[in-house]
Amino acid sequence: MKPAPFEHHAPLTVEQAVSVLTEVGHDGKVLAGGQSLIPILNMRLASPAHLVDINRVAGLDTVEVTAEAVRVGALVRHAGLERSESAYAALPLLRQALVNVAHPAIRNRGTTVGSIAHADAAGEMPAILALTDGVVEVAGPSGTREIAWSDFFLGALETSLAAEELAVAVRFGRFPAGTGTAFTEAARRHGDYAMAGVGVALTVADGVVSGARASFVSVTDVPSVLDLGPVLDGVEPGSGEWDAALDTAAEAVRGHVDPEGDIHASADYRRMLVTELTRRVLPQAADRATTPAPNAAFDRGSAVTTLSSTSSTAFGGQGASHD
């Protein structure tokens, strides 16, 4: 359970990091938070000859909020983004999802951009990048480029990032006014990888739904977005049609996902789970769409949904802080 020997590089600038990555090519791996990488190294599932440790690179640890997006630098820890009040005000979905990422001690070290670059289908933040129509900002030997989320994720643990490139930031897109979001997942144990998870964004205009989308954790190979507009648009949340529309949306999810079974849950069970979870989060998102001020206590409290629980706010309460 010790990593194989490697050469440690500690660049101080993005240019230096890219230059080292270019030099070492496929023998190199970027180390940011290391909360996914170091377990892999410890178990010797991988043994790269070079680690490019970007923890001392200047200028990568900021969260910036613009009118269109929340931009998160490559050294922003999950916990830092989770606590950022400006990010929360601009895009509550981030905190709603981040409280589900592993445990607080892992979130204190792990980075959001690293989690996205790792591209695990069981990761929350790749799904959130997709749901927000996000972009990855990349630095390479020939300058910078931007990769849309849909071009970024190629397969399980596989992205379109080249060996000599460094993901320096991601931009999560903000939603139009009148949009409510919600995220939930179900895991065997608290903080474990989810058996299934779902995030939704639902826009309400003039009292009826005008746009809804969902993305998923652990039930698709790569992050993918399902447009629920066709089944929910024009329906008034809470009206007589609403329940039937939610059932139709849940069925659309069942058809969209393609889970694989493993020791934790069969494919059928995961499909059932994500269908039910979607049915639960859509009304939450609809409530939030019609309630302008984000409810921080609720978002912090909804980290875990267990299917046996009748309350979705298992750990709620004023002043709750899990990190």
Binding site: M1, K2, P3, A4, P5, F6, E7, H8, A10, L31, G34, Q35, I38, P39, L41, N42, M43, L51, D53, N55, R56, A79, A102, H103, P104, A105, I106, N108, R109, H190, G191, A303, A314, F315, G317, G319, A320, S321, H322, D323
Partner: protein
Amino acid sequence: MTDTTPATETLHDVTVSVNGVRHSAAVPARRLLSDFVRHDLELTGTHVGCEHGVCGACTVLVDGQPMRSCLMFAVTAQDHAITTVEGLCSAPDARTVPTGESMNPVQQAFAECHGLQCGFCTPGFLTTVTAYLEENSSPTSEQAREAISGNLCRCTGYQNIVKSVLRAAEIKAERAEEHA
């Protein structure tokens, strides 16, 4: 550990501040912070369980924040102030106790409430709970459970650990009041 290091492996001079004391050692880049603390500094209070971030036994405070020392390299830890379980009893609120009380409130609570049996997981719980009470000084039982959800204990069944967290919050408040 050093004896088994291949001769060809480059050693790095690593200086890490642990419990307020600067320690230096020449170690390979792959030296985990947990092994650096235990083998190179001989601070064996930090325990190593799963070595992939699941069990929480190796949790130390990095600039006051709980992190897994098995998921950090010593070379990366150089820029930070590390607190291990050995450093908890000199935490500021314990220093203010003039009665010779050497344990911090969390340590005292775990002793009072039987929050441990074999003690293997305890260093991780103590560091985690010490940091947590800095953020939430009066947790509910549910919040206490949430706070320790990243630490595994195979002896206690957790009931007494939850009690210990709640009791630690009381002791901390009592001490603050006594010395206000």
